[in-house]
C-alpha cells in the first residue's frame, strides 16, 4: 500500500506548533518515509500570530505539498478554524476537547467540522497537565496522539524528542511522559478515518536518505564542494546558512567571518575569490541590493564567487517571514552596467544541495559571480534527500594558468572567452584586477573597441554554462510532443506546477512542465522549442510583476499566460490547476473527493 499523507498542525505562536512539526517530520523520516514539509509562522517569537506546520509523507519524494491535508491538528482554534476545510473528506481533524474559559457559539472548532471529516476530540491540555504538571507540552501530547492514532512506532518519536531536548534531561523526561500520554490516548481510539500509513518504502542502496532543509542542503553542498571561506551578515531567511556553516566549517579547518554589514560581506567574498579561495556569502533581497555594486566588481574583474540569495516578501523590509520570488529581476539585472552573471534557481531541496556545490564549480569554470536564488519556501522547507556516498563536485576548476614566461594576459581574448587565471603570489602571474574597464593585461582602457570586446567576452563566456556538466539547466516533464498546455516554472514554485500538471493529466489534459533552473544565461533555444509544442503556455510564479515571464518574453517573444500572485505563501496547486483547466477549455469541475 502506498503512503501519501499530509498533516497540518495549526497553532498560535508559543504553542510549540513548529517544534511539533519538526519532531514529527524527523520521526516519520526515520521510519523511512519521504518527507516534504514547510512551516508558516509570524515574525514575532511570542504573541498571537498564526503558525502552521505542514508535512507530507510519501513513498516517493513528492514535489510539493498537497492542496488538502489528510490530518489537521488544532493547537489553537481561532487560528485553525479558517483551515478546517483544508482537511479532506474522511480525513481526521484532531483538536482540544476542552476549553479554559467560556466560548460563544462557533468559537470552538467542532462547530466547523464538515460531516465528511472525522473529528478526534482529545483532552490535549489535560493530558499535558496530568503527565507533566503543565500545559506547555500540549504540542508533544499531540505528536504522541498522532503516533498512537495511526499506529506508528513510538520509538522514532522518542528519539526525535530526545534529540530536540538534548542536554535538558528534566525537560526531556517530562516531554517523554507527555508523548506517551498522548500515544496511549491516540491508540485507545477506534479509527474511523481512512488515513492509512502503509509500510515504509525499502531503503535505497548507494545513497543515504536524510531529511534536511533547503538552507541546510545548500550548506552541505558548499561543504562537500570544499568551501574555503564565507563572509556574511545575518538576514531572514538566509541566516541559517551562515549559522550552519559557522558550526560546520571549522570542523574542516575552514573560516567564516560575520562582517559588519552586507557591503563588507560581498567585498570580502570577492576579495577571497580573487585570492583563489572557494568562497561565498548568503543574504536576502535587501542584502543583495546592498551588494549590487560590489557584484559589478566581481563581474568586471572576473572573480569566481558565490552568492546565495534567499528571497522574502519585498520591497524594502517587506515581509521577512513570507516567501516570494520577487528578487529575480535584481538577481539577473541588478547593479549598474552590462553586468552579466550566472543565476541559477534550484527547485527542490535536492537541487539546493547540488547547486550549493556546483555553484563553486561554475564560478571557477566561467570566472564570474554565481547567484544561487532560493526563497523562504525553499530555504525552510524540509525534504528527504538521497545523498550520494561520495560528493559529486569537482574539487578544482580554477584553471590556473602556467604563468612562467613573459606576457601573462589575465584577460586574454580567447575563442571560448575564458582567460587564463592566476592567483596572487603566483610567479609571473601578476596583473591588475580593477573595477575599471581594462585591456587583456588588466590595464585601464576605455576605447570603444576594447569595451566592446570585453563586454562580448564577459557575456558570451557564460553561454557554455547552459551545458555545464551535471547541471540540468532545464528539463521537460509530462507529455512528450504537442500538448494543450505547457507550464514553465522556476524556483520553488516548480514543485506546485509539477503537482498541478500531474493532476491535470489525470483529468485528461495533455500537459507538460518545463523546469528552468538556469535563468541567466537564459536557455532561449530550449524554451522556444518547448513553447513551439504548446497550445497554451502558463508561467506561474510568486511575484506581482511576472518577472520570470518578462525575462522569458525578452528572449522568446511569444504570448504566455502569466499567473503571477503574491499570496505571502507558496502558490496553491489548486490555483495553477484551475488555470490549466481554463487554458485547456475545461469547465471548472468539482474537486474530486
Amino acid at each position: 500500500m502506498s503512503t501519501d499523507i499530509q498533516i497540518a498542525i495549526v497553532g498560535s505562536a508559543g504553542d510549540g506548533t513548529i517544534a511539533a512539526g519538526d519532531i514529527l517530520r524527523r520521526a516519520l523520516a526515520e521510519i523511512g518515509y519521504r518527507v516534504i514539509s514547510f512551516d508558516v509562522y509570524p515574525p514575532e517569537i511570542r504573541g498571537f500570530g498564526k503558525c502552521i506546520a505542514r508535512l507530507r509523507v510519501t513513498d516517493e519524494q513528492a514535489y510539493s505539498l498537497k492542496p488538502q491535508s489528510d490530518v489537521l491538528v488544532s493547537l489553537d482554534d481561532s487560528h485553525a478554524i479558517p483551515h478546517v476545510h483544508e482537511a479532506r473528506e474522511w480525513g481526521a481533524v484532531i483538536y482540544e476537547s476542552g476549553s479554559v474559559g467560556p466560548l460563544p457559539e462557533g468559537a470552538h472548532i467542532s462547530a466547523h467540522i464538515d460531516p465528511g471529516q472525522i473529528p478526534y476530540n482529545a483532552p490535549i491540555r489535560e493530558l499535558s497537565e496530568k503527565s507533566t504538571g503543565s500545559a506547555r507540552s500540549r504540542n508533544v501530547v499531540v505528536l504522541g496522539y498522532i503516533a498512537g492514532l495511526f499506529r506508528l512506532p513510538i520509538d522514532p518519536f522518542l528519539r526525535a524528542l530526545g534529540a530536540k531536548f538534548k542536554g535538558k534531561a528534566d525537560v526531556a523526561k517530562k516531554n517523554e511522559a507527555a508523548l506517551r500520554a498522548g500515544y496511549d490516548e491516540g491508540a485507545r481510539w477506534f479509527r474511523l478515518d481512512d488515513v492509512v500509513f502503509g509500510p515504509p518504502p525499502a531503503k535505497a542502496s548507494g545513497a543515504t536518505l536524510e531529511m534536511i532543509s533547503g538552507n541546510a542542503a545548500v550548506v552541505r553542498g558548499a561543504i562537500d564542494a570544499g568551501i574555503d571561506t564565507f563572509f556574511g551578515y545575518p538576514i531572514t531567511p538566509a541566516t541559517s546558512i551562515m549559522e550552519r556553516l559557522a558550526s560546520e566549517m571549522p570542523k574542516h579547518g575552514k573560516r567564516l567571518v560575520q562582517t559588519e554589514d552586507e557591503i563588507a560581506a560581498i567585498s570580502a567574498t570577492v576579495g577571497a575569490g580573487f585570492a583563489g579561495a572557494r568562497t561565498a556569502t548568503a543574504t536576502s533581497g535587501p542584502g543583495l541590493a546592498l551588494m549590487a555594486e560590489m557584484l559589478g566588481l566581481g563581474v568586471i574583474a572576473e572573480v569566481p564567487c558565490v552568492i546565495f540569495v534567499s528571497q522574502r516578501g519585498g520591497p524594502s523590509t517587506g515581509m521577512p517571514t513570507k516567501t516570494e520570488q520577487s528578487d529575480l529581476n535584481m538577481a539577473v539585472y541588478g547593479g549598474h552596467g552590462d553586468a552579466a552573471r550566472i543565476v541559477v534557481a534550484p527547485t527542490n531541496v535536492d537541487g539546493c544541495y547540488r547547486l550549493g556545490g556546483m555553484a563553486f564549480e561554475m564560478a571557477e569554470a566561467y570566472q564570474t559571480p554565481v547567484i544561487v536564488l532560493l526563497d523562504l519556501y525553499l530555504s525552510n522547507r524540509y525534504e528527504t534527500v538521497p545523498f550520494p556516498s561520495k560528493p559529486p563536485f569537482k574539487a578544482d576548476m580554477n584553471a590556473i594558468a602556467d604563468t612562467r614566461g613573459n606576457g601573462f594576459k589575465r584577460y586574454a581574448l580567447t575563442p571560448d572567452h575564458i582567460s587564463p587565471r592566476s592567483i596572487p603570489g603566483q610567479a609571473g602571474g601578476m596583473y591588475v584586477a580593477t573595477g575599471l574597464e581594462h585591456n587583456e593585461l588588466g590595464r585601464p582602457n576605455d576605447t570603444a573597441e576594447m569595451h566592446t570586446n570585453m563586454s562580448r567576452k564577459r557575456h558570451d563566456k557564460l553561454k557554455a554554462a547552459l551545458d555545464h556538466p551535471g547541471l540540468n539547466a532545464y528539463k521537460r516533464f509530462g507529455d512528450e510532443g504537442k500538448v494543450e498546455v505547457g507550464i514553465i516554472a522556476w524556483g520553488s514554485t516548480f514543485g506546485e506546477a509539477l503537482e498541478a500538471m500531474i493532476l491535470a493529466r489525470e483529468d485528461g489534459i495533455s500537459c507538460s512542465a518545463l523546469k528552468v533552473v538556469m535563468i541567466s544565461p537564459f536557455p532561449t533555444e530550449a524554451v522556444a522549442e518547448f513553447i513551439g509544442d504548446c497550445g497554451q503556455v502558463l508561467v506561474p510564479e510568486v511575484n506581482y510583476q511576472g518577472q520570470f515571464a518578462g525575462i522569458l518574453q525578452a528572449h522568446v517573444p511569444h504570448a504566455v499566460t502569466r499567473l503571477a500572485r503574491v499570496p505571502c505563501a507558496p502558490m496553491e496547486v489548486d490555483e495553477i490547476l484551475a488555470e490549466i483547466r481554463r487554458l485547456a477549455g475545461r469547465t471548472p469541475a468539482k474537486q474530486a473527493a
Partner: protein, 345 residues
C-alpha cells in the same frame, strides 16, 4: 418563515427525521444537530453484520455527508451537552461553548441499562450499542465461541440470532428483562422461552439460581469470563453481554427546569413543560389521556414518527402523538419468535 435557530440534540432516527422535517417546513431557519457520536447517523440494526465480516463503517452510515450539507444541517459530532437552561434558552456544551436556541428538540435516545447490582462488573462485560462495541465483541469472540447473554431484551435476541447463524453458542440468563420492551404475560412466557430454546439458545433462569453473584475473568486456559450464581453454580463464556433494555440519556437535562421522571415528561404533542423544548424518541415519556399515565414507546417506526411530529409541532402545528407500531411479540406457525423491532428500513 424565519431565521429561527432549531437545535436538535441527538442524531438518531428521531433527530434526523426531525431535522429533515424542520428543513422542509422552515426553509430559512438555522438547524444545528448535536451528537456525542463521532459518526454521522448509522444503522444500529445493521450492527450484527460485523459478525459476517462487514467492517467498513462507512457502509453503516445512513445519510452521506452531502445530505447534511444540502439540508444545511450543522452536524456537530463528538460534542457533549452538559446542561440546558430552559429559561434563557441556552445550551452549554462540555467545552464551555454556549448555544442559544429558539426551539430545542431533545432526541438523545437511550443507552443500555445495567442493573445497579451488576454495575461493579461493568468492566468485564461487553456492550453492543455502537459500531465500535460491535467490532470489539466480534474480536473478543473466537470461532464457535460462547456468548453469555444477560437479561435478553429484543436487541440482544436479535444479536443472538446472528451469533447462532455464524456458528457461535449463546446462553441466555433469563429474567424479568427478557423480551423487553415487549410485555409478555406470565402465562405466555414459557412458550416464548421454549421458542428460544428451539432456536438453539441455552436458557438459564436467573431466579432459579438465586441471581448473579459475580462475574470474573476466567482462569488461564479457560474461557475469558466466569459467571457465578448465588446458588454456587457457574457459567463460562468468552463474552458476557448485558441486555437489560435501555435507559433514557438525559443527564444534561437534570436541572434544566423541564419536568423529568424516568424520561422527559411530554404532553401528547411532544412538548415538554417548557414551551420551546420538545422531545422525541426513547428519551421521552408521553402522557396518554386514555391510560392516564406517561408511557415510553420504542421501535424505529414510532421513534421516526415522533421526530416528524415534534418537528411539525415546533413549526406551528399542534397534533397529538398516535403510536404507529404494533408492539406485540409474535410466534410464527413454525414456532419462531418474530419481533416488530427487528427490522429496519
Amino acid at each position: 418563515m424565519s431565521t429561527r435557530h432549531h437545535v436538535v440534540i441527538g442524531s438518531g432516527v428521531a433527530g434526523n427525521q426531525a431535522a429533515e422535517t424542520l428543513r422542509q417546513r422552515d426553509p430559512d431557519s438555522r438547524i444545528t444537530m448535536i451528537t456525542i457520536s463521532r459518526l454521522p447517523f448509522f444503522n444500529r440494526y445493521d450492527l450484527p453484520r460485523v459478525f459476517y465480516g462487514a467492517r467498513d463503517w462507512r457502509r453503516f452510515i445512513i445519510y452521506p455527508a452531502e445530505y447534511y450539507r444540502e439540508n444545511r444541517i450543522n452536524l456537530r459530532r463528538a460534542t457533549r451537552v452538559v446542561s440546558v437552561d430552559s429559561a434563557s434558552q441556552i445550551i452549554k456544551l462540555e467545552h464551555k461553548e454556549s448555544i442559544r436556541f429558539d426551539s430545542l428538540l431533545v432526541a438523545s435516545g437511550a443507552g443500555a441499562y445495567l442493573p445497579e447490582d451488576l454495575s461493579e462488573f461493568r468492566p468485564l462485560m461487553h456492550g453492543f450499542g455502537a459500531y465500535r462495541e460491535a467490532v470489539t465483541v466480534a474480536e473478543a469472540l473466537p470461532k464457535a465461541g460462547h456468548a453469555i447473554m444477560l437479561g435478553g431484551d429484543t436487541i440482544g435476541l436479535d444479536l443472538a440470532r446472528t451469533l447462532l447463524d455464524t456458528g457461535h453458542r449463546v446462553t441466555l440468563v433469563a429474567g424479568p428483562y427478557t423480551f423487553w420492551p415487549h410485555e409478555v404475560a406470565e402465562k405466555d412466557r414459557p412458550k416464548f422461552i421454549e421458542a428460544l430454546t428451539k432456536m438453539g439458545i441455552v436458557v438459564v433462569e436467573q431466579q432459579e439460581r438465586g441471581g448473579i453473584a459475580s462475574i470474573e475473568t476466567g482462569a488461564k486456559g479457560l474461557a475469558a469470563r466466569k459467571l457465578t450464581f448465588h446458588d454456587g453454580s457457574e457459567l463460562a463464556g468468552d463474552v458476557v453481554m448485558p441486555f437489560y433494555g435501555v435507559m433514557p440519556s438525559l443527564d444534561f437535562m437534570l436541572g434544566s427546569g423541564v419536568d423529568i421522571e424516568r424520561g422527559l415528561l411530554v404532553s401528547p404533542n411532544l412538548r415538554t413543560t417548557n414551551e420551546n423544548i420538545y422531545a422525541a424518541g426513547d428519551v421521552c415519556q408521553i402522557w396518554t389521556d386514555k391510560e392516564h399515565k406517561y408511557c415510553f414507546y420504542h421501535g424505529w417506526k414510532n421513534v421516526r414518527a415522533m421526530g416528524e411530529l415534534a418537528a411539525k409541532n415546533i413549526t406551528g402545528a399542534d397534533e397529538p402523538w398516535v403510536p404507529t407500531q404494533d408492539e406485540t411479540l409474535r410466534l410464527t406457525k413454525e414456532g419462531k419468535i418474530e419481533s416488530p423491532f427487528w427490522e429496519y428500513q
